[in-house]
């Protein structure tokens, strides 16, 4: 291989993987979450005792388990994209299914977490901390659901050999959105469950 071709091979790609439109959506979503995180952090500053006391009532193990599930889901999606680049269609579909199941696991944990709070009489109006906790985590969970729906469509197409090593932009689009959902939780977890 000539030096110029080698250079070409290492040239940075002009655009991120997947459809350009998904990256516009990702940037909008990240901007919204930035505002929500900043609002939580500075509201906490004005109600330190309340936030520190209420945070201890959260199920930190549920937060940990959900973080592990989302990271694993992201890994599965990355493996699915790596597999389709080698034209391993069926293997790619299996990784996508595993990612969707990690999303299901996340929602099951959230269901029990919310269930425990609601049965203890806690709701959005209990106090400012729980207004933020329920709003932030529910808003994020909606993104998990949307990510799972997108991955389900990608999985269906992958099952019918709809992607190949040269044509898998749709899968990369879904993957990028799912990684964004994971990235947001990476900050949400320490912010809401860990740091006091």
């Amino acid at each position: 291989m000539s030096r110029s071709l080698q250079k070409e091979g290492h040239k940075p790609l002009p655009y991120p993987p997947g459809d350009f439109a998904i990256w516009i959506l990702i940037l909008v979503e990240l901007s919204v979450f930035f505002v929500l995180f900043a609002a939580y952090a500075f509201t906490r500053l004005m109600h330190l005792e309340l936030f520190n006391e209420m945070q201890r009532t959260l199920d930190a193990d549920a937060g940990l388990l959900n973080t592990l599930l989302l990271i694993s889901g992201s890994w599965c999606v990355a493996r699915a994209v790596a597999a389709i680049k080698r034209t391993l269609c069926r293997q790619s579909a299996h990784w996508l299914l595993a990612a969707i199941l990690s999303g299901v696991g996340f929602l099951v944990v959230k269901y029990f977490e919310y269930g425990a709070k609601f049965s203890a009489g806690i709701n959005l109006e209990t106090n400012l901390f729980y207004t933020f906790y329920l709003s932030l985590t529910a808003f994020h969970a909606m993104h998990v659901v949307l990510g799972m729906i997108i991955l389900a469509f990608v999985w269906k197409k992958a099952m019918t050999d709809g992607y190949s090593a040269n044509d898998h932009g749709g899968m990369e689009t879904g993957a990028s959105y799912w990684h964004m959902v994971d990235l947001v939780w990476i900050i949400l977890f320490p912010l809401v469950y860990v740091m006091r």
Binding site: P12, L13, P14, Y15, P16, P17, W23, L27, L30, F33, F34, F37, A38, A41, F42, R44, L45, L48, A60, D61, G63, L64, T67, L68, I71, S72, S74, W75, V77, A78, R79, V81, A82, A83, E172, A175, S176, H179, M180, D182, L183, I186, I187, F189, P190, L191, Y193, V194, M195, R196
Partner: protein
């Protein structure tokens, strides 16, 4: 990207998550621990952006926007917590 490398990133992210949880449960959350927890989050976010999102080989503009969002978000959180501890 090799699947082996993706596996290594996954394990690193899992270990970092368990470490974050351990710090939250077993230490008094002073300023130092807040910085460590946010630093771990920064490393995790960086790995997700560069390796899972596959932006490592994309023009810096896109990586810069994503990494900039990560740093800005964590910096604002750090500022709010620092003011609270102060």
């Amino acid at each position: 990207m090799s699947t082996h490398f993706l596996n290594v990133i996954w394990i690193a992210l899992m270990v970092a998550t368990v470490l974050t949880s351990f710090i939250g449960k077993n230490t008094a959350m002073g300023a130092g621990m807040v910085v460590i927890v946010l630093l771990i989050s920064a490393i995790k976010g960086w790995l997700i952006i560069e390796d899972f999102m596959a932006l490592r080989r994309v023009k810096f503009l896109w990586r810069g926007i994503m990494l900039g969002w990560l740093l800005l978000t964590l910096s604002v959180i750090l500022l709010a917590y620092w003011l609270g501890i102060k």
